[in-house]
Subunit: 662 residues, 2 copies
């Protein structure tokens, strides 16, 4: 499927890209030094867009549910990431080309070569090769184009099946695929070396001595987990609750391409929602979202080598088990609503379930919100059920009580066989073996205890197997222990919460917003495309452009007055009093995505009436100051749309002579 | 001078500190792993406080002056920081103790030992030793206390002079001081090894190969400088202008202590204001701030070993040259106004000028806004004139045109001696020496050119000195060049702007706010101090606490209704429906700095009237919903203060029975 612009025009990425750089939405970092792959800076409009999205995120998630926001450090001692599994497992598979030393990502390499061969096959069969949507993970490298070689039908089928589950292979499997099909680096013509794991974390040293290794966090989650006990206390022991964090994370990608979509430093917004694992992980507000319709691509479909999606309500998806539980489902729906709110194209969202090998090492289930772009479907939000993994491993490592003590409304009584040792005699009897014997007794099952109790009462002694002590069997006489059935009453229940984690890559969402809101206006006879970014007013970097008719002195006080007035309404504005024509100035701001413009002319000076212009239609209305400001406020807050304003206020024509009336 | 609380009570740091941790304003990072010096996380109230301060900063600086905000990466290739001078010079001096291997900061070490000796001297002289305000840089280590040894008067004077200018010594000088006075590490009793430089940047590697070293940025400034040309273009070539950035920076402190005041990862907010170096660096809005009074501690006073400050208007300080120029002065005043706005104690601000050796390697002049705390005077904002240093070095290194081309209103004509070579003949004549000869000619001064022109016309040839070519002298005949006086007209002027840089350490400001707004309420007969943080409503983490009289079901709809109502007014609120008494719940929120509280009782359910409580006075008023919400809005926006509300609305007494009426 070819990508199109917001208005259904064929999408031309280089034009959008050059516009985004020209308007400084983003720019390669350190460009005057030649740049560094995977590092980008945001200029003023990109920065404002990012701030607005973060602000909406905070309102939609954090404030809406009283989440506990924390700000943890990026620098992380190695110990913590060792425990979490990142030191051992947070890696991609990379291959080295033995001829030129190039380092390539194994999965991307397999994809590229197989796709090139499939393309060659189609050519050989005389099939018109449609330009396949490129994936950022497999952007073509310069090198020899695939030759038009016809493949066996069975091979074609096998290649296609591999590609549909490419994310499901580990390094060994990728190595086998490379060997099996003799996949060669197109640049050098040789087969790369077998894949080896490359850890994606940036390493450093904390402090002046070299024995304190640390990493830059690859996600914001660990800092939140480590604070779990304090956060629970802050929340006055109430469950469920969520923590949230907005901050930079770092991943040392092997060879980042595809602009803002695969970068080495990026802003994340992550939620860790803690839920009782018992009772099916219900969510008290699930009913509010149960009718939200989502497009789902589940695990089984992908494993069958297909990409067919289904559109269902989240209520149904949870009911039929496609989505594991209510809490996970609640967040999938909330993510969907958030993406809509900020201006993502409804028709370009799908939720894809992770396959088993693809899931992060901690996840029990995981769905990605993917957005469609010219690079293919891009994972922008992950929503994982991390189960009790993280809290458990950190608690085990440190001994910290990362758990919930729940007061039981009705205490429960537990009856079971218990063993009580006579410590006074037990120690002296077994000496250095005491601990091992004690552990062996502790490990006895209820059934064993019951039978041993009988033996003890009959024989006055029992025999217990203790590996490594004597001949592996230890005799214990009845003066050393008591085995009996006892009943105790428990008033509290202890459990380690499970974690549902919605995790947002803000930079990726930003890029998708560019593509989803971009279109071009038919130019006034000229060749150049006139770009427009139709951001919703809530996320647009600047809401109002103030344009004086000319640089005439009489406009200056009005400009200052209006700027202040708008600021007091909480509406961001910019003045463009450059000498360019009004049309040019509006054009520039169409590219910046500014939804509204106020033109100040000589009549404005006399009677304080202004022209208000709508970015998308270029239509204009005219009214007095109070009316115009009220209209702006209602548009920016989303209470009204331009069609409402057009109905209410008199149209104004002319003046913007060099813009075509659509 | 002993520190006091906001209400003039003796300040007890451990009580404040334990409260800040208990309420999770901040907490040591990775505490369950034993923590890591210099790394702290912010919990929910700290996070909200930080967000509010950043928001006010953005409004006060960025929006007020249409600054261009950018967001650059923390990861920085080594090249850039080599050029900027950080790789070579961004270091502290550290000494190693030869006995136990301890690594200590040289300047802090000298300070500690000299102060201990001075203290010992006072004791020996029988002078009561006042508890000196500790400096975070010289927090006492455990070790042998100084003995009461009397020093010569001359030595005392010398020590005191050294301490007054301790920031002015380099490593060699510190080493000499250690040798001269045989300063010994109190822990081991031996003299440490001579100071060596320790670079404060965290190093890492960018990408999979090990030949791309990089650092975490130690300041946000460099990213802004590298984007200068793009930002100037974005600003449509208009000067002056400023860029701004809010983001994390990283410094690998040698042995961080003093909590939030010296950390390894911190949030900075930096402005780079670009100004034409000609014309005295005037600022068009200086008149708006010229009457702002600042407390100044200038360089000369410090070098004279004193700490006497003067309170003057910034207008006078710039006029008499104490502060170098208007733009620097403008920002000092704006910084002062910002600090006041967020709740810094007016009587605890001073601006201290840097001494020569103390200044960063790039600075031409620098003033720090220092805030007084129990740790002494803390540098919270730096305001440096970085001159053209950064833009110049980066332009030189990369060839990028980091400069301004100013169109001259009246073109200037320049008349001078110019040399024109006959390239056709010149090359073949000198062959490989051509470049050297050309460079020698290019380097000739106007006087030399004038004299050579005469020679050329008389003799038909000239002799030019060219090092390394032939015997060092080269003869050039008149067919190879023309030397004549020519006049050209220039319409543009090129210059490298100077940079004025206000640079804010947000974490330090946060900590000072804690101390400046903290006080304790006389307890109700109990022993425990009841802490209050009297943040201004604008920066308070939460504005309104909603307190139902009890957990009764009938309050729940009202709580939800009021939360939504407040949210729609942009006012953050929290519900506390725990089972604690109303007084306890208010007490908890006094510690969180929540300025207002609404009590919901059974009457509220019937007639929608509420009690509104003021944190600082604990006074209460009662009115209907609309009136209460209007009062809250006016208080939060700073339009009114509590005294106004008390006059307007009827007082309400009782209910908060367990709080003393002040």
């Amino acid at each position: 499927m070819a990508t199109t612009t917001l208005k259904g025009q064929p999408f031309d990425r280089p034009i959008l890209d050059s516009m985004l750089r020209r308007r400084m939405f983003y720019t390669p970092s350190f460009e005057i030094y030649g740049g560094t792959a995977g590092l980008y800076d945001y200029g003023p409009p990109g920065c404002a867009l990012q701030a607005n999205i973060v602000d909406l995120w905070r309102k939609h998630f954090v404030l809406e549910e009283d989440m506990l926001e924390v700000d943890c450090t990026s620098l992380t001692p190695a110990d913590i990431l060792k425990t979490s599994g990142h030191v051992d497992k947070f890696a991609d598979w990379m291959c080295k080309d033995p001829k030129n030393g190039e380092i390539i990502r194994a999965d991307h390499f397999v994809e590229e070569v197989l796709e090139a061969r499939l393309k060659g096959d189609k050519e050989a069969r005389g099939v018109t090769v449609e330009e396949k949507e490129a994936d950022p993970k497999k952007k073509k490298k310069k090198g020899k184009a695939a030759e038009a070689v016809k493949l066996d039908d069975a091979v074609v089928e096998e290649y296609e099946s591999v590609l549909a589950q490419i994310d499901n292979y580990n390094g060994e499997e990728l190595g086998k695929l490379i060997k099996k099909w003799e996949l060669k680096n197109p640049t050098t013509g040789v087969e790369p070396l077998p894949p080896v794991a490359f850890n994606l974390m940036f390493q450093t040293t904390i402090g002046p001595s070299s024995n304190a290794p640390g990493y830059l966090r690859p996600e914001t989650a660990q800092g939140q987990f480590l604070n779990f006990a304090k956060l629970l206390e802050f929340n006055q022991q109430q469950m469920p609750f969520a923590s949230a964090s907005i901050g930079k994370s770092f991943r040392n990608e092997i060879s980042p391409r595809a602009g803002l979509l695969r970068v080495r430093e990026f802003l994340m917004a992550e939620i860790e929602h803690y839920v009782d694992p018992e009772g099916g992980k219900k969510h008290s507000r699930f009913h509010e979202v149960q009718d939200v319709e989502l497009v789902l691509l589940n695990r089984d479909t992908q494993l069958a080598g297909q990409t067919k999606v289904e559109k269902v309500t989240i209520g149904k998806a949870v009911a039929d088990g496609t989505v594991d539980n209510e809490t996970l489902g609640y967040f999938l729906a909330r993510i969907h609503l958030f993406l809509n709110k900020i201006g993502v194209d409804q028709s370009k969202i799908r939720f894809r379930q992770h396959m088993a090998n693809e899931m992060a090492h901690y996840a029990a289930d995981c769905w990605d919100a993917e957005l469609q772009t010219s690079y293919g479907w891009i994972e922008c939000v992950g929503c994982a059920d991390r189960s009790a993994y993280d809290l458990t491993v950190h608690a085990k490592k440190t001994g910290a009580p990362l758990m919930v003590r729940q007061k039981l409304e009705t205490p429960i009584s537990i009856t079971q066989w218990e063993v009580e040792l006579n410590k006074k005699l037990f120690g002296p009897q077994f000496k250095k073996d005491g601990k091992a014997v004690e552990a062996a007794i502790e490990a006895l099952s209820q059934e064993q205890r019951e039978s041993l109790a009988l033996t003890l009462s009959q024989d006055g002694k029992i025999t217990v197997e203790v590996a490594g002590v004597g001949n592996g069997k230890v005799e214990i006489s009845k003066d050393l222990l008591v085995i009996e059935k006892r009943t105790r009453v428990e008033n509290t229940r202890e459990y380690t919460p499970n974690v549902i984690e919605p995790s947002f890559g803000i930079g990726r969402i930003l890029y998708c917003l560019f593509e989803h809101n971009y279109w071009t206006r038919a130019s006034d006879g000229g060749d150049e495309a006139r770009c427009v970014l139709s951001f919703p007013p809530t996320v647009a970097p600047t809401k109002v452009l103030l344009v004086p008719l000319s640089g005439h002195e009489s406009f200056k006080p009005l400009l200052k007055y209006l700027s202040l007035k708008l600021r007091s309404l909480g509406v961001s504005s910019r003045v463009d009093d450059s000498s360019a024509s009004i049309g040019k100035r509006y054009s520039r701001n169409d590219e910046l995505g500014t939804p509204l413009g106020i033109t100040i002319d000589f009549q404005s000076v006399n009677d304080k009436t202004y022209t208000l212009r709508d970015r998308d239609s270029t239509k204009q209305v005219r009214a007095d100051e109070e009316t115009i400001l009220a209209a702006i406020k209602s548009l920016v807050e989303g209470a009204k749309v331009w069609a409402d304003i057009e109905k209410e206020l008199p149209a104004f024509e002319g003046q913007e002579a060099d813009l075509p009336v659509r």
